[in-house]
Amino acid sequence: MPNKTLNFPDAMKLASIISKYFDTVSISGMAGDEFAYDLFSKLTETEINQVVDMLLDDPGISTEHVIISCVEAMIENNFMGMLDTYKQLGFGK
């Protein structure tokens, strides 16, 4: 499935959503699937829709695939770098 390459405002919007629940330190100790399910269990419905719209070209797939595809897209877009940048700019916690 094709994933989107995020521009700067979308990348920072995604970082602002993820940084509500995780930081780079807490993520670094987690396995990929553990992080994926943990993140999606914490996100609100609005946030899930925002994340899916930002990352996937075709969100019309099963829930399980959406989560995996979103996390793959986050990794492709270097979401750890996004979180770092968001914090370094002074917006994060």
Binding site: T5, L6, N7, F8, P9, D10, A11, M12, K13, S16, N77, N78, G81, M82, T85, L89, G90, F91
Partner: protein, 194 residues
Amino acid sequence: MKKRAKLDELGQSMGDAVSKGDFDKYYLLSVQFVETALTQDKVDWNKVPWREFLVAYSEVVKLNAPTLEFPILVSSKKKQDKKLPWEYDGRAWYFWLNLFASNYGWDEKKIENMDIDTALGLYQEILMDEQFAKEWTWQLSEISYPYNQSSKKQEFKPLERPEWMLPLAPTHLPVIRMRKDMMPMGNIMDLSAK
């Protein structure tokens, strides 16, 4: 120099946007920041990957930063956020224009095309000349010799210099051995961190 002054102002506004947590404003300003320094046609930044946008931004910062370490740029005092009553958008350029036009009689075109290192170097020289002129006037005046009650004499009090003109403090103070009976008495308070 004119564009450099605009970059300075945009940088300050970006800082304000960060302190207010206003990312949308920050992004608009950062796009303006990059585009001020661009020589090519307009870029659709919404189609540029976020990493590339950040690289473009940091290149603009790097290319427009002074290459020399001017003492005037070093200050331990925190800049006040309070906006002065005579501030307005775009003042940074008029500051430089007034400075060089009044001191050297240069025209707008010449000042506009100045390099940032030259501008900062000359700015520091102008401030130093002003300070030395003030010190000369100060030492000719009576108020520079206040009366000292303990010595019953008038003693010279030099005019205060700005922080960047003060002698550099040594990074490592020498360890001096002191006789025990000459050591200060009482509780020791560490004031080095204050």
